[in-house]
Symmetry: C2
Subunit: 328 residues, 2 copies
């Protein structure tokens, strides 16, 4: 197996990517790892299964995705996505420009037959610690019912194969739990999802998803993006205010020190970096978006996720399932 990593992407690149890759190379000695970067980032002799390949350019976080992907053909993001398409890599991981990765995934890696639009599919933390796979969170803001149908099928396979869930519960994000709730899109999607060979549990409200009511939550990319950014925003706002409260007086500091280990564990369990990156589902190979603020641990977790995708042959399983659906 060969996993390629973008050494140029993310707030802590290249150090976090290099460190994460080094740990991964030790964990999976039979897997070859390749770092793509403008300057050689492997300053000292690394393990034999970790190598470096030079690219001539990189895409900045602020760049307009479509233009950047079209112009920078030898950037780490474009090269990585192309390597997956051409079978030179079994998976590609980047913490760089999300839009550029989605565009390069679409244009370079290419869609699977039967997939109209790929979906960005991170695992959100839930209160019970299991996590819920949410798709789409922004690859396709204006979804149609058949897109949501494809998301449901892909989510089913990833939950089963990568998350190891038997008969995963698939929910549809909606503004109420009753059938017939929502917009024209969710009403039509509800009908479609009910007919699929999956365990569809119906409409799910955002707050219940966080309590682990389903394993996979299907939504259009616009709503999913609101869900993602609200979750991040509320959690950050609360933790910021807690930190303030915990350091306000000396007595508070002492009391907070007692509670710290437990709170740290809790904050970590709420941190989606623990669950790896967000795969772009529906492409011809695994392309995984790691969070922009990824540290070495987050990169390592994303590699673990990529490893699961390849080991369990998720892409072919998606392809087969969609093929069967079309034949039915």
């Amino acid at each position: 197996m060969r996993i390629v990593l973008d050494a140029m992407g993310g707030d802590h690149a290249p150090s976090a990517v290099v460190e994460g890759a080094l740990r991964a190379a030790g964990e999976w000695p039979d897997t070859e790892f390749l770092l793509l970067g403008v300057e050689d980032v492997l300053q000292e002799e690394g393990p034999a299964n970790l190598r470096f390949r030079r690219v001539s350019e990189s895409i900045d976080p602020g760049e307009e995705p479509v233009k950047a992907v079209r112009r920078k053909r030898d950037s780490s993001i474009v090269v990585g996505c192309r390597m997956v398409r051409e079978g030179e890599a079994d998976a590609f991981i980047s913490a760089g420009n999300t839009g550029a990765l989605m565009t390069a995934g679409l244009l370079m890696t290419g869609r699977l037959p039967g997939i109209d639009r790929p979906a960005l599919a991170p695992v959100f933390p839930t209160i019970n610690g299991d996590g819920v796979l949410v798709l789409d969170v922004g690859a396709n803001p204006e979804a149609k019912p058949q897109h949501l149908e494809q998301y449901a099928l892909m989510g089913h396979i990833v939950a089963e194969k990568v998350m190891g869930i038997f008969k995963p519960r698939i929910g549809l994000l909606n503004n109420g739990t009753e059938a017939g709730k929502g917009t024209a899109l969710t009403k039509a999607a509800y009908e479609h999802l009910g007919k699929l060979p999956i365990h569809f549990i119906g409409n799910v409200e955002a707050r219940d998803a966080l309590y682990g009511i389903c394993d996979v939550l299907v939504c259009d990319g616009f709503s999913g993006n609101i869900l993602l950014k609200t979750t991040e925003g509320v959690a950050k706002a609360i933790f910021d205010r807690l930190k303030e409260e915990f350091t306000r007086t000396t007595v508070n500091k002492l009391a907070a020190a007692v509670l710290k280990p437990g709170l740290k564990r809790f904050a970590q369990s709420m941190d989606y970096k623990e669950h790896g990156g967000a795969p772009l589902l529906g492409l011809r190979g695994p392309v995984i978006k790691a969070h922009g603020s990824s540290d070495a641990r987050a990169i390592f977790n994303a590699v673990g996720q990529a490893h699961m995708f390849v080991t369990h042959d998720v892409i072919n399983q998606i392809s087969d399932k969609l093929g069967n659906l079309e034949r039915d």
Copy 2:
């Protein structure tokens, strides 16, 4: 001024409503308060400005809204909304069935000329304590650009008159801050909002709204509902887990006791009940939805809000502004 309250609505009805109304009657001795209920809830002699009127029925929380409103013509929700329409009440407050209140508002109170769809407009807590008025959070899941335009104008007036904000900053909820982001709806709305006589600050992401980047956040009812329920869900999940952590061991309990007053203040500031209820904007009179779990304090705050609406003549201001816009 006469403010009517639904004594039948909410998880803690009638006691929370009665207690809230009693406090309000003391606070505003020149205002007449009327409680609508099936059984007389004013067991003892109350203040002279608080009275009771019997209705023959009530709408349950689980009832299908449109059917319930059509059939139960003498329910507290229908009677309250009709009293506003007929000038017998200056404002109506209910913590009951949200869908039924929206339906009765539409059918009984009626829309203002120039308003296609009313909007449910609560104030969300922000980290700086100011709060942000969000509309719509679910009265109209499938909005058109002109609806969002009307929301922006109504939000502007409420922020100015009720929240007392000079030149309120109006933002459009979107999946990115750049112009041209989002769906066909948000792209068109961006153009419309830019032309209005308001201080439009452009696209706003969910996480930034919680940090107080704008005073009014405009969105379609489906997205607003996701935003509302995610905010509620994440906050509840975190506070639940904190409580668990704070009571896990005796030492933790002691440490938590030190931090308790500060955390309680913080939790209160995050509690949207502090900001009153959610007005249904765009009707011919103020109809306010109090949260289903309202306690006496929440009801009292909703009365304060209704009082501001009437004192500042918000409905006529909305009507004038929309009339001017149509003449322009």
